[in-house]
């Protein structure tokens, strides 16, 4: 549905994005994840035809964005970083105007207006002047503006930035409810948002795509080893050395003792399942098994890891957040 091929954009000598390529399937929700200044807005502005690229091109619904801009624009709904709202219009007047310039006419406009007011729960503020709305409602009007002509493709640039937590939840729910009916690209610099709404993530940093994958695959890519957190009640001085003798184990890191016992992080080679051997060893030695969980990296760690690699920094030297631990299935 959307295919970006080697997109590049320079502002004078400054390279904003370089060689950005990715593809989005019909009905998919893709997150464009990256820190501020990564080039998310630039990429979206190119896709929507607001800006030209200095290299590469893209196809949306089969149309080249530079050869057939009008065809592409008819099929896109775009919520810019700053929602494009007119101060002198009411919500209904504004959405009617947008529906018309997007190419709807006559009855279609009335129907589209009714639909979008309902979808975005804006019915009760339809007659209010836009500047008198709260920030959350303005954002909803922005979303309604992108949706009003029922486009195949939705491009949403940081749709939740600047909202309070309640509004963020509402907007996310709204976007989630749209998935399936539309192909959606959404940009964000907030990781939980990408994982909450999107099936796939494109990570972009300093204008380059650092990774394109599903959330699980990304985690797997970064992991060089499998890690298991092992908690025992009665650790012995030789616990570490005994664990180290097990086949497949490459490193054992003891955590500080506490009242309940001690936790060891056991790393094994990728693809080796050592859980059975571990539990047997603990049982045989009578250490008292308390817990055993696999540790997966959160997207946040992945992100940090990948972007740090990109700049040549050793991730070990930066303060990494605690990996989150998920119980074994």
């Amino acid at each position: 549905m959307i295919e970006a091929i080697g997109l590049g954009k320079r502002y004078g000598p400054h390279v904003a994005i370089e060689d950005v390529s990715f593809a989005v399937q019909k009905g998919e929700v893709l997150a464009f994840l990256g820190p501020n200044g990564a080039g998310k807005t630039t990429t979206m502005r190119i896709l929507t035809g607001f800006m030209s690229a200095t290299a590469g091109t893209a196809r949306i619904a089969g149309f080249d964005i530079f050869d057939h801009p009008m065809e592409v624009k008819r099929r896109i709904g775009y919520l810019a970083e700053n929602p494009p709202l007119y101060r002198e219009m009411t919500v209904a007047e504004y959405l009617t105007f947008v529906a018309k310039i997007k190419g709807l006419s006559g009855r279609q406009v009335t129907v589209a207006l009714g639909d979008v007011l309902e979808k975005c729960a804006l019915g009760h503020v339809a007659k209010r002047l836009i500047p008198n709305l709260s920030r959350g409602y303005k954002q909803r009007v922005g979303l309604a503006q992108a949706l009003v002509h029922n486009p195949e493709v939705l491009i949403l640039d940081e749709p939740t930035t600047g909202l309070d937590p309640q509004q963020i939840i509402e907007i996310r729910q709204l976007i989630t409810s749209l998935a399936g009916g539309h192909t959606i690209i959404l940009s964000t610099h907030i990781l939980p948002e990408a994982t909450a709404i999107c099936q796939r993530v494109v990570i972009i940093n300093k204008g380059r795509v650092v990774a394109v994958d599903s959330q699980e695959h990304l985690s797997a890519r970064v992991r060089q080893t499998e890690q298991i957190s092992l908690g025992v009640r009665r650790p012995q001085p030789d616990t570490v050395s005994i664990l180290n003798t097990l086949t497949g184990v490459c490193r054992v890191t003891p955590k500080p003792m506490d009242d309940n016992g001690q936790v060891f992080i056991v790393e094994s080679e990728l693809g080796q399942d050592i859980r059975e051997a571990l539990s047997e060893t603990v049982y045989k030695n009578g250490w008292g098994l308390l817990e055993m969980r696999a540790i997966t990296l959160s997207l946040e760690d992945v992100f940090l890891h990948l972007t740090m690699q990109e700049t040549g920094l050793d991730p070990a030297h930066v303060e990494t957040p605690e990996p989150t631990e998920t119980p074994l299935a």
């Binding site: 624009k73 494009p84 997007k102």
Partner: protein, 254 residues
């Protein structure tokens, strides 16, 4: 075409609910009414005097005596107020990020430019049409010379079109309305004054003289419809609109 219509409606709506159009129209109409009325009273007093002193009354050219001075002054008033009407047009779309909506909608930039131009011009034409009631009121008192009156209004209408096009161009250069207004004052006053004050016959002065806006408009107001003046006003307007189109397009390439 459809898009132009939609955009004209949107701009007109904005004009009719924002105070700026009313303020501009009020100032323009108040001053031009004053000019009309005072000139008419002055001329009628003058002719009364002539009658009183039993002088022979020269055939009175209503257009030259009653209408010409207020029309000439109206051109100056339009030059001073129209930039206030046009400063918002594109600058505000850029500042309020709504350009991002228009530029990503299936609307060509030339349609955008034409929509804005036609809407603003229409507002000025309505203002001009309102001033028509002064000549119409005089119809009962005297015979009106319709041909020079038509020529004057044609000239004023075309001149307003050029002023609006230049104002629109200025508005496309910046996101700041005040700066847009200052730029259009600059261009308009520059065009108005070029050619004035030089009298020798070199090519230089004749080229500059051709560019001079005031001379062309004055011909119309005096009752002369000359193709050279028509060509000047129309081609300058088209040129200004074309430059505006280029400016709007160029945003993409920044």
């Amino acid at each position: 075409m459809r898009n132009i219509g939609i955009l004209v409606c949107k701009e007109l709506r904005t004009y009719f609910i924002s105070p700026i159009a009313y303020v501009v129209a009020a100032i323009f109409l108040a001053i031009s009414s004053y000019l009309f009325v005072s000139q008419a009273m002055y001329i009628s007093a003058l002719s009364m005097q002539m009658v009183r002193f039993q002088q022979e009354i020269p055939p009175l050219d209503i257009h030259q005596t009653v209408f010409l001075p207020p029309f000439l002054n109206m051109t100056i008033i339009l030059l001073l107020v129209l930039p206030l009407l046009t400063m918002r047009l594109i600058a505000e779309e850029a500042r309020g990020h709504t350009m991002e909506l228009l530029a990503t909608s299936p609307v060509r930039s030339i349609e955008l430019v034409m929509g804005k131009f036609l809407a603003a011009w229409l507002v000025v034409l309505i203002m001009l049409a309102i001033t028509l009631h002064w000549p119409l009121m005089l119809m009962s008192a005297t015979t009106i010379a319709w041909k020079p009156l038509f020529s004057s209004y044609l000239g004023l209408a075309l001149m307003s079109g050029l002023f609006v096009a230049i104002g629109l161009f200025a508005s496309s250069l910046t996101e700041n309305q005040i700066i847009a207004a200052v730029i259009s004052f600059g261009i308009l006053i520059g065009l108005w004054l070029t050619g004035s004050g030089s009298s020798d016959n070199s090519t230089y002065t004749s080229v500059i003289g051709y560019l001079s806006l005031s001379a062309h408009v004055e011909h119309f107001v005096r009752g002369l419809i000359d193709t050279r003046d028509l060509t000047y006003l129309i081609s300058m307007t088209v040129f200004a609109l074309f430059l505006t189109h280029l400016m709007v397009e160029s945003r993409r390439w920044k």
